[in-house]
Amino acid sequence: MNRARTRHLIFAACGIAGLIALWQWGYVWGGPFVLPPPQDTAVFLWQLVADGKLWQPALVTFGNVLLGFGAGAAIGLALGLLGGFIDEIGAALQPVSTIILGIPPIAWIVLAILWFGPRGFAPAFTVAVGIAPVVFAGALAGMRAASPDLDELAEAFKLGWRQKLFEIRLPQVAVALLPALATALGLAWKISIMAEVLSGGTGIGGKIADARAQLDLTATMGWIAVVVILLLVTDRLLARLTGPQQSVVA
């Protein structure tokens, strides 16, 4: 680990320590009905792990995120590439994407609960609808920013369609697409939790809804902490795949 990286990590740790200190100050200032003490939340988290009660809700939420993110990213990417190759399709889809992006996720959640019932596909569907326009916009921007010089290079060296797509076009699209995917991933977690809170599912959102109903602030903060940890882990994984500059959280 080089010196700059160590320095970066030290400052990141200082930032997190500062946030926990602020949390502690909030507890001291407002009492346990405003914020639970951080140590109680840590104990709650430890008990969740020790009792094995963490995994099932985490897996449900992770499944919703994965399914919704996968479907939304695949649809957004396919349409973005298509819109980039065929200008007319791009022009037709762009306002549709803007309209969908403008609809708040909460409205989609309500519709999804009506369509799919309170359990099942509602969170994954809402995630897919929420992130597809983001990925579409990234893919379309990447396609439109493709270098005509590299297109001419491909023509001069008589590259086939496969080489043009995988060696020339997609790597250029990736420059705009990867930040969009990183943003979409963060969005997917937020939307999924929100959908689960409203639909009362068995995922982390459902647990947060239960804790809220029982006015259990420690459990609420504990489950929020679980979401943050899961987001950090998946974001790091995505950053590892796509390069550290693509991370949403660092």
């Binding site: 010089d149 590299l150 290079l153 023509e155 001069a156 060296f157 590259l159 086939g160 020339i168």
Partner: protein, 327 residues
């Protein structure tokens, strides 16, 4: 000897604007043709036409050999290593990545790129290395005709001469033909068997000069470049103004701190005309009259190495220049 390339009465328009007209060129095996002309005249368009990247509006193009092009900027794929970049065209022909890498490695080694550098991505390579990778990408295809679009124009003088020598060596050893586009008379006389000068809008061939390749000695090359630019047809080609839309921005004069303003020197032949300096800031400073094309000499490495001040060197070397103070 039958020609590899034959262009007959070629006309080209881009966006409805005529760029080339009545171009007749034949390139025979082993011939090194340099196409010169002022910036924006249509040299690159001609090269793209030869490479089949654009079609002519008029006339016929016949190419009886495999051609490969080296662009002005290297156009390397930033996400691939030098080896994979050099093997791009081979993979298009169905070679496996491994086989393409093996062939590319042998060419890159011949172009003096170390094995360690061959595995690096373009961002980690110098400008000269990148251009060598671009050259290798063309050479691995074993073309009979190499198309070169000012490939060394962005490099410094010493590196450019080094690559020119390397290129000339490979072309002679392999018996290749080449068409090189340049605006640099020094590069033309170093490399060419034949120099074609384009001028006007639309561009036509203003001069077609068979050229005995000069010796490598710098002084001889400078003299040959000066003589080339002094030829009336060549001088006129460079003095003919292009329409503003056709002309690229004029190259800026390279100056050292404390140098005189641009209109410091005037032409003795036509009186009072500012002397123009050839090409990009990296060129050797080859001086000729903007209006009449009279050769005025050069101020390049010779003067710099001698530590002679710019204006003193020009006053001494530039036979056609009169030094005048502006104020």
């Amino acid at each position: 000897m039958p020609a590899l390339l034959e262009l007959a009465n070629i006309g080209v328009s881009l966006d409805g604007k005529p760029i080339l007209r009545g171009i007749d060129i034949e390139v025979t095996p082993g011939q090194f043709v340099v196409v010169m002309g002022p910036s924006g005249v249509g040299k690159t368009t001609l090269l793209r036409l030869i490479g089949g990247l654009i079609a002519p509006d008029a006339g016929a193009r016949r190419l009886d050999a495999r051609a490969a092009i080296v662009f002005q900027d290297p156009r390397l794929l930033p996400w691939q290593s030098a080896l994979d970049n050099a093997g791009l065209g081979l993979r298009a022909e169905g070679l496996s990545r491994r086989a393409a890498r093996d062939r590319a490695a042998s060419i890159l080694t011949r172009l003096n790129l170390s094995a360690a550098d061959q595995t690096k991505r373009p961002a980690a390579l110098s400008g000269g290395m990148r251009q060598r990778v671009a050259l290798a990408r063309a050479l691995v295809l074993e073309p009979r005709l190499l198309l070169l679009d000012e490939p060394f124009s962005a490099l410094d003088t010493a590196l450019r001469q080094n690559l020119q020598d390397l290129l000339r060596g490979i072309i002679e050893a392999e018996g290749l033909s080449a068409v090189l586009v340049t605006h640099d008379p020094l590069e033309a006389v170093r490399l060419a068997d034949r120099i074609i000068v384009l001028s006007g809008v639309p561009a036509t061939i203003a001069a077609d000069i068979l050229h005995a390749r000069p010796a490598r000695a710098a002084t001889e090359a400078y003299r040959a470049a000066a003589d080339l630019m002094a030829l009336p047809a060549v001088a006129a080609a460079f003095a003919t103004p292009l329409t503003p839309s056709a002309a690229a921005p004029a190259p800026s004069l390279k100056r050292n701190p404390g140098e005189p303003p641009e209109d410091y020197f005037h032409c003795r032949s036509c009186g009072g005309t500012i002397l123009e300096w050839s090409g990009s800031p990296n060129d050797d400073d080859f001086a000729f009259c903007k209006r009449c094309g009279a050769s005025a000499g050069v101020w390049g490495r010779l003067c710099r190495d001698a530590g002679e001040p710019f204006f003193e060197a020009v006053a001494r070397l530039c036979r056609g220049a009169v030094r005048t103070l502006k104020s």
